[in-house]
Structures are given as structure tokens and as C-alpha cells.
């Protein structure tokens, strides 16, 4: 089950606030 990482961080933060859900933010250099 691959993780569906999103790249629109501003939208993620706004959604987290609305849904009262935590965010996992990955700063990565791994091959994509």
C-alpha cells in the first residue's frame, strides 16, 4: 500500500485544520 504523499503543503495544512487531523511532512531527497 504506497503512501499517497501530497505536494500541495498549504492545502494539506488547511485540510488538516478543517478535519482536525495531524500532518506528516516529509522532507525528502529520495528518488521519486
Amino acid at each position: 500500500m504506497p503512501i499517497n504523499f501530497r505536494h500541495d503543503v498549504d492545502a494539506v495544512l488547511a485540510e488538516a485544520s478543517r478535519q482536525n487531523k495531524p500532518v506528516l511532512l516529509d522532507f525528502s531527497a529520495a528518488p521519486m
Binding site: 503512501i3 504523499f5 503543503v9 494539506v12 495531524p22 500532518v23 506528516l24 511532512l25 516529509d26 525528502s28
Partner: protein
């Protein structure tokens, strides 16, 4: 770390996952790197729903250690939000599932603090000090708990 099904399930169950890539999202990487003080990869942050950082993992870890740290961070997140019962359950889960991880002594410590924060009954602190006499001796967390009993 990420492809492991235990890690991916934990992330999907507990977070909205987001990624900024040093090359593919270069501008965002700088922007959010400055905002959150992330200057190395991999850096994994756990943010509460208000966007405040509650836990951080810097550098590569083997999968079990990474998952233990993720679970520890999620427990700290609950603690930071005043969800004492959930925090205690999550801290104890780290100790139970990954008793030999670096995360376990810290989790045992905070598993004692969470119920105290809820009830102000010091019994959980005493029980934690006693537990540290049986395991994790020599860790900083055992030293910190030693004042409780």
C-alpha cells in the same frame, strides 16, 4: 522505510501525508525548510492540526526503529493536544511492540506522565519509577524517572 506496509498503514491511518522533495519541489523545500527548520534529509515532521511541530525524525532509520519513532511521535502529538488517555495508550504500545528500540524508554517515561496529567495522582509516576528499576537502566529516561520513587 516508506514501502514497508506497517509504516504505510500507520501513516495513512494517522496523518495527512505530505512531501517536499529537495529537487522536485525545490522552491517549496526551501520555503518549508525555513519555516520548520528542516535543513537535512530525510527529516520527517509530525504536525498537529494547527500546523505546529510536535515530533521530528532526522536521518535514516531501519524500519522497526523508524516505525517506533513514528509511533512515539504520534503519542507525543496526542499528549500535546491534551488527549491523555490516547497518549498513554500510544506510549505503552511503543513499549509493547518495540521494547528494544531507542524509543521505548522515552515512551515508558511519558506513559507514566500522561495519566498524571489527567488525574494529578502521582501513583502512575511511582509505578513508572518502579518499572525503570527493572528495565532500561542506564538510559537518560531512567535517570529522569528516578526522582519519582
Amino acid at each position: 522505510m516508506w514501502p514497508d506496509p506497517r509504516v504505510s498503514k500507520f501513516v495513512q491511518d494517522n496523518f495527512i501525508p505530505a512531501r517536499v522533495h529537495v529537487k522536485d519541489d525545490a522552491q517549496k523545500f526551501v520555503e518549508y525548510g525555513d519555516k520548520y527548520g528542516a535543513q537535512w534529509t530525510p527529516t520527517v515532521l509530525q504536525l498537529d492540526p494547527k500546523g505546529e511541530e510536535r515530533a521530528r525524525i532526522e536521518g535514516f532509520l531501519p524500519t522497526d526503529d523508524f516505525l517506533a519513532q513514528l509511533m512515539l511521535g504520534r503519542a507525543h502529538l496526542a499528549f500535546g493536544m491534551g488527549q491523555w488517555d490516547d497518549a498513554e495508550r500510544r506510549f505503552r504500545e511503543v513499549v509493547e511492540k518495540f521494547p528494544n528500540s531507542d524509543a521505548a524508554p522515552e515512551a515508558l517515561y511519558w506513559a507514566g506522565v500522561a495519566p498524571y496529567k489527567k488525574t494529578h495522582d502521582p501513583a502512575s509516576l511511582g509505578a513508572t519509577a518502579k518499572a525503570f528499576k527493572e528495565r532500561y537502566q542506564g538510559t537518560p529516561w531512567a535517570k529522569k524517572a528516578s526522582i519519582w520513587g
